[in-house]
Subunit: 453 residues, 2 copies
């Protein structure tokens, strides 16, 4: 036999058992999105490179998968190009398309392209794979699904409220206990303002983000290393050391940030959101966390992240508000807010906590064994009735040995086996074997159907 | 504003209205596949070019989208390669991966790769996009979904029966009247045998396939042009002119083909399949059609195609049995049979016949208007109860003018609008407006929920 075939590194096949679990995750998320009035869209896997390049930073440009032009792709490449041997420059002539890197940039492109057909506020969800030429490692793939929902064309914090309700509902359905961490980019900007280092906001948020991991001393050292002076680092301490509940933190912030217009606005937004959340019945904890920064620099307001309480794993959902996502495609002034569920991590959490519905409930319920043409003729109309009653059923296609057929039923973990031989045919019944208990009973087809309802 | 962004030619975005219709199609197909014990798998969008190349003929190799290697993709290209300027030869150094061209070859690769984990007979379905660098034209796209189901590891014609039942059930659910055309490759091979031109089987089937379109005379001329002699073309006439019902055709074939071992086997298979179909309750017509050839040369037994009766359009589903699909990856002797629904054409047929469920039934059922913070506080717990009762509901996020909010409800075709002002708050009710009739009634939240159940 030839060498076993394989797939590109960092990509995955999904076998039926995995697919059934993944579908459970996607279907749960979809149903909650729909419950809140979000509607599905899809965009092509390939986008023009002009849409993608420059949107994810220099590193992101490198991580885009590029599609070689069709036909004679060398057509436009000159000897001069070849002598220069510049991969980047030649790329423009070899490739016009790339695989989407996330769902956010294609969505921004979509909103601008269909601005005249879309009704705003536009609430969409999108569940599709994305591709990144990252170095594959445990839990990081080159192809993975994103599950995004966004509202664009509305500034109202009711959108943030509803997205947090969606998160709360989805994880309650899964049975995963979570903490929803929230923060606001305007508050972070206010903090940078307040210590007189507005241009250092990225360095400050990156450093704050590490507080949990490396501790206060190391964070302070890093801030000094980034060019903040002693006075500025000292001024940051009340923020870094802030304790207490959400409302206490807000009260403290409102003091600290009173001189920063941006900071005051951020505090007002957080206050309004907490007020709205008080009126809702959120089952999980929502916690104001000033160390939450989120890397993506298009966020301008609320930011949020979700942590599983019972499993050690990174953020399993994230999101935030952006004021000008469509600006990159020339359409200004469209504010939006969105979230993205991390399906791969949720998959791992559900596995670790053993929270999946029994696989038996997701697949074939009953298999009819096959003893030959006469028995088959008798069976076919019965199986049809069982299926029409909404019960997933199989017939073993080949009239092979009983043991082989039972082995298949067993391996597949099909909960019931229906056995019809001469005896059963004569009596007009089906022998139903419960594979869990081993018990078997002769039933009419009506009795059999009733058993599953 | 910058130029409007766009997407690569031959690709599509799907807006919510289209997505809801497409999901209706995919969900219907999935549910019937599952009813018959088929289980989902997924494979990566990218496959190694070694998996894909040479599997679709020379033309197919050209139509594969190739992915440029990451990083310095020019690394392995030499000056010598450049001087040769041979796109094909250089390709091996620039690209190792391509986008899948269909679901069949990746499935064959999958079966071989996981042969030790899979239980045979293995019944899988797979609904994923495929990519082809074809010249785009009406109804032909560079990215489109395939919806395949296959059984591998079983020779039984019960599989063919069940796939035809699946086709019959799916189109009955859609309300599309169809004819299922069946034939058998062994019969076609037998015909080629019988006229003493076994090496001309491809030319003969291609010519027969055109009978409907170009007529008998032109088919005969084409056959002569392909190197058949007058005697051979004359011997073919009884086949080309064959009339009558399925059983009559079979009887005639069994006479004509009695000297061909292959032909006799094909007739026996068709007879057994028709016997099995007699025992089933197929709602649509199943018709033995000797002009059905299907282009793909891996088919070896039953072949089938589905035509819509009430719309002029090509085949909307096709399939067949192949004896050795996994042979291309070194695993011999695994017979399989499969079908593939043509989702894009089914989409068009449902549109033309106006057979979609009302879009109202698929999206948001009710929208609560937003008159400001006090009303919102009152609303939030009510909306939550409505959603928990399984009713898809929205809140208009911004407290903008009544007319604008009503305009949104109208544009979105949301069937009910809930209006809560001071009056309703005082009385503990919600004013429910039926957008179809214009009627409005004050209801308690319990009465409102009851209305949707």
């Amino acid at each position: 036999m030839a060498t076993k075939p394989s797939i590109p590194k960092g990509t995955r096949d999904f076998l039926p058992e995995e697919m059934e679990k993944r579908n459970y995750i996607f279907n749960t998320i979809k149903s909650v999105y729909a419950q809140y009035g979000f509607r599905p869209i899809e965009t092509p896997a390939m986008e023009n490179l002009s849409t993608l390049m420059g949107k994810y930073g220099e590193e992101g440009d490198k991580l885009l998968f590029k599609i070689l032009n069709s036909g004679d792709y060398l057509h436009d490449v000159t000897d001069e190009d070849w002598r220069e041997h510049n991969s980047n420059k030649m790329l423009k002539k070899l490739s016009e398309k790339g695989l989407r890197y996330d769902l956010t940039v294609p969505f921004a492109r979509f909103v601008v392209q269909y601005r005249d057909q879309i009704k705003f506020p536009f609430k969409r969800y999108q569940i599709q794979p994305v591709w990144r030429a990252d170095r594959p490692q445990k839990g990081r793939y080159r192809e993975f699904y994103q599950c995004d929902a966004d509202v664009v064309g509305s500034d109202s914090l009711v959108n943030e409220l509803e997205l947090i309700e969606i998160i709360d509902t989805v994880f309650s359905k899964f049975g995963i206990r979570v903490a929803v961490k929230i923060n606001n980019r305007k508050v972070l900007a206010g903090i940078a303002d307040m210590i007189g280092a507005p241009d250092k906001i990225v360095d400050i948020t990156v450093a704050i983000d590490k507080l949990d991991k490396i501790g206060l001393e190391a964070v302070n050292a890093e801030l000094l290393g980034k060019g903040l002076d002693d006075r500025q680092v000292a001024a940051l301490q009340p923020v870094l050391l802030m304790q207490g509940g959400n409302r206490e933190k807000l009260a403290a912030l409102s003091q600290i940030l009173q001189a920063s217009e941006m900071g005051v606005k951020g505090v007002a937004e957080l206050t309004e959101l907490l007020d709205l959340l008080d009126g809702a019945e959120i089952r999980n904890t929502v916690e104001l966390d000033l160390t939450l920064a989120r890397g993506l620099n298009y966020y301008t307001g609320t930011i949020l992240e979700v942590k599983a309480l019972d499993v050690q794993i990174g953020s399993i959902t994230g999101g935030g508000r952006y004021d000008n996502l469509t600006g990159i495609f020339g359409m200004e002034g469209v504010s939006g807010v969105g979230i993205s569920f991390g399906a791969d991590r949720i998959y791992d959490v559900l596995n670790q906590l053993d929270l999946y519905p029994k696989s038996a409930a997701m697949g074939t319920q009953i298999i009819f064994l096959n003893f030959g043409p006469a028995e088959l003729r008798y069976l076919l109309p019965l199986v049809r009735r069982v299926r029409e009653a909404g019960i997933a059923a199989e017939i073993y296609p080949d009239a092979v040995k009983f043991k082989k057929q039972m082995g298949y039923a067993n391996d597949r973990q099909i909960p019931y086996v229906a056995i019809v031989g001469e005896d059963e045919m004569a009596k007009g019944v089906v022998m139903l074997k419960d594979m869990a208990t081993g018990e078997q009973n002769p039933l009419t087809i009506d009795q059999l159907i009733a058993k599953f309802h």
